[in-house]
Amino acid sequence: MTRNATTFPDQDVKVKQKEKFGLDKGWCVIVWNDHINTMTYVAHVFRKVLGFNKSKAKSHMMEVHVQGKSCVAKENREKAELYWEQLQAYGLRTTLEKGD
């Protein structure tokens, strides 16, 4: 199931096979800035959901805050969707994007 994802219908067979077997780590989990979630809370969620250490969590949190968004994980579709679901459950604005 695709959620908030940009898809490319003409992917070649190799890409489709990679995706089928979970090898295509081209799905980017993007967290967007908002003015309600606090910075500490966002960093905490990154540590809990994505297993980041304090420093990495803070770095991505700052990227969200300053740049407006951060790609917090690049994974195969199944794993990316799992992260997406967990981040949404914490109330973070999250989307999935298919990269190159």
């Binding site: 695709t2 979630n37 809370y41 914490y90 989307t95």
Partner: protein, 165 residues
């Protein structure tokens, strides 16, 4: 408000007014969680559901998935909200109010408190400017209660993360 640890549990020390406000908040949360998706305000549905599913092009299969997902989370969070409202009611008027949260419930508490912040900000139209002008805003008095609640819960979340982190 203060928070200490008792073993791995959290002990949240509250004034009576804070206890009362939290109890009211959990009652409101329980009522909101119990509503079906169709009964939610449009603005709240947009918060919960991905943007492309609320536009005309949303796929039916995905909509169903999201509705099930929302219902599942809401059901679990409604039960917790009820339990916490009840436990806070039982602490009413005590001289020394200590509200205990077991370690396995801390993450759920954070998510639920944050839901209330997001929903209140959404329903009351709190802007970034409102959040920054909390102390100075006189003209926006209709938003003051919402701002008070959102900031109170932010402080509680920060305390929890500080003590539990």
């Amino acid at each position: 408000m203060n928070i200490t640890k008792s073993g791995r549990s959290l002990l949240i020390h509250l004034h009576e007014s804070e206890r009362e406000l939290l109890s009211i908040i959990f009652c409101r949360l329980e009522q909101q969680y119990k509503l079906s998706g169709a009964e939610w305000e449009d603005s709240l549905q947009k918060l919960w559901m991905p943007a492309d599913l609320i536009t005309a092009g949303g796929y039916e299969e995905e909509r169903e998935y999201w509705e099930e997902h929302r219902a599942e989370l809401s059901s679990e969070r409604a039960k917790l909200s009820f339990t916490w409202a009840k436990s806070l009611d039982e602490l009413r008027s005590l001289k020394n109010i200590q509200w205990r949260i077991e370690p396995e419930q801390v993450e759920n508490l954070l998510k639920i408190l944050n839901d209330y912040r997001l929903w209140t900000a959404c329903l009351k139209g709190l802007t970034e400017q409102d959040m920054q002008d909390f102390d100075q805003s006189v003209e926006k008095s209709h938003k003051q209660q919402a701002l008070l609640e959102v900031n109170f819960l932010a402080a509680l979340i920060e305390f929890i993360l500080h003590v539990d982190g």
